[in-house]
Symmetry: C2
């Protein structure tokens, strides 16, 4: 049963699982990465056999296989995939950025240009967590950014294939190449490249603790999006809510993972008790009852506050992945939100709407990372380059200042590079003077 | 002497130092972080004694001490600091972003809001690399982003103080709190907090291999900007350049560090030979001759290509931190640049202009990271939050699609959360039906 707690009775920091460390993973992942670097494709085939139980004849899915998977997918589901893709495209197209350019009357200019990251790797989990929605959510922002090549990895089942729904989504999203690879070995292949797998510049997407650790280890050689942890939902609700609705929303995250966290914060003890009872009732009717029950019993909490602004402040402190604000007029509360991945406003906005169809991304910062990081989006697939162009006159007018600054940092070559264009003799004189000082110091 | 190489004679990948691993640093840093977590301020005082030779009476610089350091700084340098700060502010203010909001005629809306990261830590190196320019370059974008608190760490000298120039720059840039801390212990204090040092949400700025490793280890708990490596300059120049000028620009980076890399790519063998001779001549006149000479001899290269577009393509493959394009009409070449941190265009744009005064940032991706990451800027100090608000009618019109999608992912609780608002009975019926299927399967 979900515990009901008065706000302030337990420290907020104890409410969300903030670190999940599996012992042994670090070393095992290090070995796998080293092995993939050393043996390439040969190692990949062996890991597919070991971890997925699959005896693969090829690592890559051919265009014909992709088409065949798409053709086998039923019309109704294809229509929903296309609808979701259109909404995701519409939302993320608003994230696209332009560079800027500052021009001054003296002819100097400077600015920033935006270019896509050329090659990106998309991790899509498999087996029981093979979610076609993840394909859409990772690939579509990359396409919008203009990446040249999208390389997707997703583990095969024991029969060596990936689900048709995953492949159909890849086709709809415009993924360029698909590999039957998961886990740490898949991440290693993307980071270092093998004969079959192209090396990429950035790796994004969710995965197991192994994938997360592999991403952490290759970070620096390639970029990564974030280290994803178990899913979290925080529902803020007042006494006008139906307990059955709030309970259903909490359980929609609890069913993901025994480590998932579902929390309700309300200013109504009546709602708290109603939701507590409803969660019990609905739990017993869920196909994934065991997972959801473990999540609710271990990590679920119902917190009762004096008022809703206090509930929002608690949300800011927890920085949840998903935040529902279930009140009739949610807009003023949104203004108070500082730390959250994705906010669902009002009584008709279940988190599942955002998982699939609304358009905003579902790849979100977890474990408090919403304090400092953002939902996956177009920004993750671009980078910027600064540029500066000065005229002779403009440089001349500041060259003395540059030299002064550089000399205060004891970087004489910096100073000279600013001066040499105008007065080679002065630099030589300066250098000769210093040289004689050096000589005197020696003699 | 800098080697002259025909393009294609050596693999490009061999030209830039791409990994610098110091053995033992990983474990030593892990121990320091654990120690700071366990013992807090006490450990910090001990590490200041051990690494900086400083017997500190207080970790934090008081406002009065900050003011006194500012007052001791000479007017001429304060004026240059203010000039640089104004230019940096002007450039980075153009990076500020607004959120967006999409409203549909049916009353639904969704969007993205931008909020500053609340607490940021700024690492400023000390001792021989105590650069006031780094204070301005890290703090000003954070102030523009609207961060609530800027916490700067910079190591003290053996007398327990930091240079006045560093503190004056902190005052000008609007840093809120300054600590006499460097190295891995300073990063640990920022990531975990101690009695004296506030815990922050993100840590940025350059540092030694120890600082870089500490940032890598605390990444996830806090965000970090990037893992900075040794400085790099790539100069692309045609035969209209003065070899003395090109040589001076190359040496301005070579003097930073024996691991720094300076490369010239030109289509002119005459320029190549002229620069080779000038580098030798100017090296002997530099105060930091030993460092610059080691850098040039170990990592310096002059590469001769058939034409300048080939030189730009080589630059894209190397993704340098700094790229100078020294030609009379550089604009068409800028269009070809995809991977570089900061580009300096034309013959009057030495890299040192960007280090201090022009306005663009000098904290830039190194070691090829310009393939996937960006100069430090306002973006590093904000994060985004998505939001979605649907009406009853809007949710009802897609609730079936959400349920279909969720069930294809075997997430029944997700499906029910979308349906429960409209038809509690249907959900109950569905649940009961599934329950009876479960029971039949069992019996």
């Amino acid at each position: 049963m979900m515990n009901i707690i008065r706000f302030g009775d337990v420290p907020l920091a104890s409410l969300l699982i903030r670190t999940v460390e599996k012992s042994g993973v670090t070393e095992a992942v290090r070995d796998i990465i080293a092995d993939v670097r050393a043996r390439g494709d040969e190692a990949l085939y062996e890991y597919a056999a070991k971890f997925d139980g699959a005896s693969l004849s090829a690592l890559e899915v051919t265009p014909a296989e992709l088409q065949a998977a798409y053709d086998r997918t039923d019309e109704a589901f294809l229509a929903v995939l296309e609808e979701a893709a259109a909404n995701i495209r519409a939302f993320h197209s608003r994230e696209k950025r332009e560079g800027f350019r500052i021009e001054r009357p003296d002819g100097t200019y400077m600015g920033m240009k935006v270019t896509p990251i050329e090659n990106v790797g998309l991790c899509v989990p498999g087996h029981t967590a093979a979610y076609p929605s993840t394909v859409l959510m990772t690939a579509i922002p990359a396409k919008l950014a203009g990446c040249r090549q999208l390389v997707m990895i997703s583990p095969p089942g024991p029969d060596g294939t990936q689900p048709d729904a995953i492949l159909a989504a890849a086709k709809i999203a415009g993924v360029d190449r698909v590999f039957r690879l998961g886990g740490a070995h898949g991440v290693a292949a993307l980071a270092y490249g093998t004969a079959s797998v192209p090396r990429v510049d950035k790796i994004v997407g969710p995965g197991s603790a192994w994938v997360a650790e592999a991403k952490r280890q290759v970070f620096g050689r390639v970029d990564i999006d974030m280290i994803a942890g178990p899913s979290e939902i925080l529902v803020v609700a007042d006494d006008t809510n139906d307990p059955a609705v709030v309970a259903a929303d909490l359980l929609s995250q609890a069913e993901h993972d025994v480590l998932a966290t579902a929390i309700l914060i309300t200013d109504s003890m009546a709602l708290a008790e109603g939701v507590q009872a409803e969660v019990e009732r609905q739990l017993s009717l869920l196909p994934r009852e065991a997972i959801a029950r473990a999540s609710v019993e271990n990590n679920g909490r119902i917190i009762v506050t004096d008022d809703l602004p206090a509930a929002i402040e608690a949300a800011n402190a927890l920085a949840p992945e998903h935040l529902e604000i279930c009140v009739d007029d949610p807009a003023p509360y949104l203004d108070l939100v500082r730390n959250a991945g994705s906010v669902f406003l009002g009584k008709y906005c279940p988190e599942a709407l955002g998982d699939y169809l609304a358009g905003p991304n579902h790849t979100l910062p977890t474990a408090g990372a919403a304090r400092f990081s953002s939902p996956l989006g177009v920004d993750d697939f671009i980078k910027t380059t600064q540029y500066t162009c000065f005229t002779r006159e403009a440089l001349e007018s500041v060259s003395g200042d540059i030299a002064l600054f550089a000399r205060r940092e004891h970087l004489e070559a910096h100073a000279r590079s600013a001066l040499v264009r105008f007065d080679r003799d002065a630099v030589a004189r300066e250098a000769a003077a210093q040289e004689s000082v050096k000589r005197e110091a020696v003699t």
